[in-house]
């Protein structure tokens, strides 16, 4: 579903990402672990087409991000570290716009809009202005926009930001369910979050992929400290 080969990217004259390769299949939930500034967000931005790699390639569901960017981006859902929400729009109006710009319309859009509002527990605030919502709700609206078009690959940059423990559990459950039919990559610096949600873990340190292992049965803390030392 997702194939990234030898991604390399320099930002402000320093190497942000160097030689990262990733491959994801249906059902994979990959946690990108790393310290702040390790290159997790830059990697996600290259995977979703927001940033062009200096070298290397990204392929989503057989569509090259370099040669068929629109087709590739249509198969991606992305939640950046700050949810891309408009404060002056109502939740359902915003999700409708997000569906429309991903090519959805009519009954299909209305059905899917209701579905994600329910999945992301937004029913009670669906008519509220996004600007009036708490950080946790805004994060869930951001997650809803990322999945409204049922993308093949879901990319989440620190999705647990601003969520309380109950909301975190609900989000993990949502990610696990979503991964049954799709592939998910999310970045985090919380080992517990990766342990409870992922079936694969990749550690990025100073722009390089230093570990890519199955999460089950691994002592992530030992793995993480071993990888970055």
């Amino acid at each position: 579903m997702l194939q990234a080969d030898k991604l390399h990217r320099t930002l402000s004259a320093s190497v942000a990402v160097s030689g990262i390769s990733l491959s994801l299949a249906r059902g994979d939930v990959l946690g990108l672990l790393g310290l702040n500034g390790a290159g997790k967000s830059t990697t996600l931005k290259m995977l979703c087409g927001m940033l062009v790699p200096d070298s290397g390639s990204v392929t989503i569901d057989g569509h090259s991000m370099q040669e068929q960017p629109l087709e590739a981006r249509a198969r991606i859902g992305f939640l950046p570290d700050q949810p891309p929400v408009y404060d002056d729009m109502r939740v359902e109006e915003y999700l409708r716009l997000c569906g429309q710009i991903r090519g959805m319309k009519g009954q299909q859009l209305s059905d899917r809009q209701s579905e994600v509002i329910e999945q992301c527990s937004l029913t009670t605030v669906s008519r509220n202005l996004i600007g009036t919502l708490s950080k946790g709700y805004r994060q869930r609206v951001g997650l809803a926009q990322a999945i409204i078009h049922e993308p093949t690959v879901l990319l989440l940059d620190e999705p647990g930001n601003g969520l309380d423990p109950q909301q975190l559990d609900a989000m993990r459950e949502l990610i696990r369910r979503y991964a049954d039919e799709h592939a998910v990559v999310f970045s985090t610096h919380l080992l517990s979050e990766a342990q409870s949600t992922c079936n694969r873990v990749a550690v990025i340190h100073e722009g390089k992929l230093v570990a890519d292992v199955l999460a089950q049965g691994e002592d992530l803390e030992a793995l993480f400290h071993g990888a970055i030392s």
Partner: protein
Amino acid sequence: MIITIAKHQFLTLARSAQTWMIAAILALLFGYLFLQQLETFLNIQDQLSLQDYPVGLSGYMSVRYLQPLALAFTFVAPLFGMRAFSDEFSRHTYALWQSSPVSTAALVLGKFIGMSMVMLLLVLIAVGMLFIMISFAPIDLPIVFSAATGLALCACASMACGLFFSSMTRHNVVAIISSLALLVLLWLLGSASFGELPIQAISQLSIASHLSGFFQGYLQSADVAYFILMTLMFLGLTVVRLDSLRQNGY
């Protein structure tokens, strides 16, 4: 897709208090200028009728009422464009467009069309005031049409300028100051006296020199082409700038 983006941009502007404040100030200006020039015409119409080529009410109002509004539209239009992208950058919503299957050209065009709809409504209100006179004086429709075309083209070109500078920065104020500086320069080029060619040719870039014909009822292809090319140039530069963000990050 372009229609969806245009609708979103139109609604964003319609929800903004700033848009309504600008519209209210413009409406006051329309009313004041219209009544002032109408009164002046009524006072001097006997003298005007003695001229070799007497000017009618439509022709008079076109030059004395609509032409000054072109200056107002030139400097107000970038206010609608200045937030189009800088707000998206500062509020981190641009990531939505960058990660969606929307081409940069469609995004720029959609936003431009959405903003143009607001501007064109204001132009229609300005021109529509002339039709109040229809009950007591005949309206010279070709002159009014020509003047309205001039206003609309000039406003669109200025708005495209604002849109471009908006794509250059995440600060609205920087965007508006930069676009106003360039537009002032383009106005002043016409009033500066240049000596010989090729410097003289620079004055041909002036907005003012390409506007006057519209208000006298001359719809010249060179003037129309000037504003269309200016609009397309700024829209093209905006696309190039936004595409470069994928290369350089923002």
